[in-house]
């Protein structure tokens, strides 16, 4: 697959990729261009690929109609907290399942894996009642605690486990001989080597938290606590009809930073995944 390619093959490959790109790129393009069109133009037929008239007020309206900056901050700090917390919890649990022999380890791992199987729609009502009793409704606690300790972090644990399994045991055995306790082995040896896996866990987790929609809608009721995906749906006119152009402007603002981070960090991202030791 890595042999030198003839110019004709190269042209063909470029062409194929450009064609394939269209359904990936066009919706984003439409989102960005529609965010500066007046509403009536968005549904104009034939569709305008490039806006004919520009309405630059949509972006300022995004901030006027909602406490958008606060909501942005909410999404950001929650995602950061969740990412940090998940990295901690999943690396510890993944390491233990990979390396430590303790009673019922396999059975417990199966139980933990259950977390992967349950859609959030299934557990949302009981979870809501639990947090209501704890007085945590309309706070960010459910949005932080559940992803870190609950179902969403199980995938991260799985990935970390796979990674730690693929590490050569010799390093740790050498450390044992030197008299290091398990915790030290973890922090001094295993964890530093796990940077690529941690990086990919961080990316997955951040994206997941950033795009969460059902949970904020259920748990949060005041606008200044909303997160971004939730805020997007609040740009409605008097009759509940969405103000498309403003909503798309907000959506563009939501997508942009994450896209930029990905562009900058994609090498690490791909490398991180390559090392997740997806060999059994």
């Amino acid at each position: 697959m890595k042999a030198d390619l003839s110019p004709r093959t190269k042209m063909f490959l470029y062409g194929l990729m450009c064609v394939l790109l269209i359904p990936f790129v066009f919706p984003t393009w439409w989102m960005v261009t529609s965010s500066v069109k007046p509403i009536s133009d968005i549904f104009a037929f034939p569709p305008q690929l490039v806006p004919q008239t520009y309405d630059w007020t949509t972006y300022s309206k995004v901030f006027e109609l909602q406490p958008f900056v606060t909501q942005y901050w909410n999404s950001a700090y929650i995602a950061a907290l969740v990412t940090a917390g998940t990295m901690l919890v999943s690396s510890m649990a993944g390491y233990a399942f990979a390396r430590i022999r303790f009673p019922f380890a396999d059975a417990i791992f199966m139980v933990v894996l259950l977390g992967l199987l349950i859609p959030s729609e299934v557990t949302i009502v009981p979870l809501f009642q639990m947090f209501l009793k704890a007085g945590m409704v309309n706070t960010h606690w459910p949005l932080v605690l559940v992803p870190i300790f609950g179902a969403p972090s199980v995938f991260a644990t799985f990935v970390m486990r796979q990674f730690f399994i693929s590490l050569p045991v010799e390093l740790e055995e050498a450390a044992r001989v030197d008299g290091l306790g398990r915790f030290k082995i973890f922090t001094r040896i295993a964890l530093p080597l796990a940077k690529p896996a941690l990086a990919s866990v961080a990316i997955f987790t951040f994206l997941h938290s950033w795009n969460l929609y059902l949970e904020p809608v259920v748990f949060l009721s005041s606008a200044d606590k909303f997160t971004l995906p939730q805020a997007l749906t609040q740009y409605t006119d008097a009759y509940g009809g969405p103000m498309w152009n403003i909503q798309l402007a907000a959506a563009t603002l939501t997508a942009l930073p994450v896209l930029i981070i990905f562009i900058i960090a994609q090498k690490q991202f791909v490398e991180g995944l390559a090392h997740t030791g997806l060999k059994g």
Binding site: Q129, L132, G135, M136, F183, V218, Q234
Partner: protein, 423 residues
């Protein structure tokens, strides 16, 4: 050693979490905080509501009202999820289609006594027909604070351009019937623009087709709600009429076609009169507002309602009821009627209504708004409406095809909702 370290950090974590958990419990003894769920996020609306809340606070200093805006299309779902989760609001807006569910469930706090006890309230102003579905056993359980008639907007520029007759011309000639209305719409439809659009129907919200089938005297179920009447002649005729308008004469856009009247792309639209505010200010077109056409069964009118109720489960139901009484008293009803036409008889005059609808002419207000509210039937509703709505909707998908067997499709629908209606 490791064990001790872990234990210490665990205790430290709990110490941080605990106050936050229990912190929310303590609050001032006397302060009452009431929450009302609404489906509007409109700034102007909220400003008015907050003014009313401030007015109430003047007489009840310890009461604060908060309004929670839930998105319109998921309003019912969000509200019931709140209730299911034990987080019911103190007061809630209720759609006319869900009224029966709420009123019959015992979830609402009866308002009649509180309303009567409020000085200067004039509860008799609310006509029996307006209050019908919000009342049970003679008690009012939710107040219909908004009554808006459906009417027909017309784009006279588009219509005249095709040489067809405008609604105004047809009305003067005494020929404003559904057949003629569709003929005009078809003429515009042929010219490439949209014909007649039943706004907010979109082949999903079928109950809005009542704006058409009431002209045939049709109804989805009997007056007592127990029997499915969709297979009866009026409904079959009405739906066949609509089907042909969509697929044969192309007078109405088909499923999946989105055309916007207020962008100037269609001949006529049926919608609530408050939508007049969507008429374009730049590039305006010559428009008119007329009552719904006459059907084979005669003249008719259709209204939508919105009610506000108090949840029985709230700790401060009584205070909440007092607020609802305050919010809908004559003075505040007059203020609300800027956006939400009131059902109070005293407010059903051209002067008040001109304020709500500054764009309408005197004649339009008389013929469309006043007559509509006075004589209009409410959109069909039923207990268990959410499920019935969904079942009928997916059953009607078989009707919205070019070669549909309408009687058979309706028979199947009746078969499915029959047991649901009886519940």
């Amino acid at each position: 050693m490791n064990y001790h370290r872990n234990l210490k950090s665990a205790v430290a974590a709990l110490a941080v979490l605990a106050p936050i958990t229990w912190g929310g419990v303590a609050h001032a003894q006397d302060a009452i905080n009431l929450r009302m769920t609404i489906w509007s996020a409109n700034e102007a609306h909220l400003k008015l509501f907050n003014e009313i809340a401030t007015g109430f606070k003047a007489e009840h200093p310890n009461v604060t009202i908060a309004y929670e805006s839930l998105p319109f299309d998921t309003y019912m779902t969000a509200l019931t999820t709140q209730i299911a989760g034990g987080n019911a609001p103190d007061m809630a807006w209720i759609f006319e289609t869900s009224a029966y569910d709420f009123v019959n469930s015992g979830a609402l706090f009866p308002l009649s006594d509180t309303l009567k006890a409020t000085a200067g309230y004039n509860a008799e102003e609310l006509s029996a027909s307006a209050a019908e579905r919000w009342t049970k056993d003679g008690k009012l359980f939710a107040y219909p604070f908004s009554t808006s008639p459906f009417a027909m907007f017309a784009n006279n520029d588009l219509i005249k351009a095709t040489g067809a007759k405008t609604p105004a011309e047809l009305i003067t000639a005494g020929q404003w019937t559904w057949d003629n209305a569709i003929a005009t719409a078809a003429a515009v439809g042929k010219s490439g623009k949209g014909g007649l659009i039943v706004r907010d129907f979109n082949y999903q919200t079928w109950q809005n087709l009542a704006s058409i089938w009431n002209g045939w005297g049709a109804a989805p179920w009997s007056a007592d709600g127990k029997t499915c009447t969709m297979t009866e002649k009026p409904m079959v005729d009405a739906l066949t009429f609509v089907h042909d308008a969509v697929f044969k004469t192309k007078a109405m856009p088909g499923p999946g076609e989105s055309v916007d009247f207020f962008a100037g792309n269609a001949a006529m639209t049926i919608t609530q009169i408050s939508r007049a505010s969507l008429l374009p200010k730049e590039k305006p077109f010559a428009w008119d507002l007329v009552p719904l056409p006459k059907g084979p069964a005669g003249d008719y009118a259709l209204i939508g309602q919105a009610g506000v109720g108090v949840m029985q489960s709230g700790k401060n139901a009584r205070t909440a009821a007092e607020f609802v009484a305050y919010m809908t008293n004559p003075q505040n009803s007059a203020k609300l009627s800027q956006f939400f036409p009131s059902a109070r008889k005293s407010l059903l005059n051209a002067e008040v209504l001109k304020k709500t609808n500054p764009l309408l002419s005197q004649q339009q207000i008389d013929k469309v708004v006043i007559a509509g509210i006075a004589t209009g039937k409410v959109i069909p509703g039923h207990t268990g409406f959410a499920q019935i709505q969904q079942v009928v909707r997916s059953g009607l998908d078989a009707v919205w095809r070019p070669d549909a067997d309408i009687p058979a499709a309706l028979k199947q629908i009746c078969g499915q909702i029959g047991p649901l209606l009886k519940r």
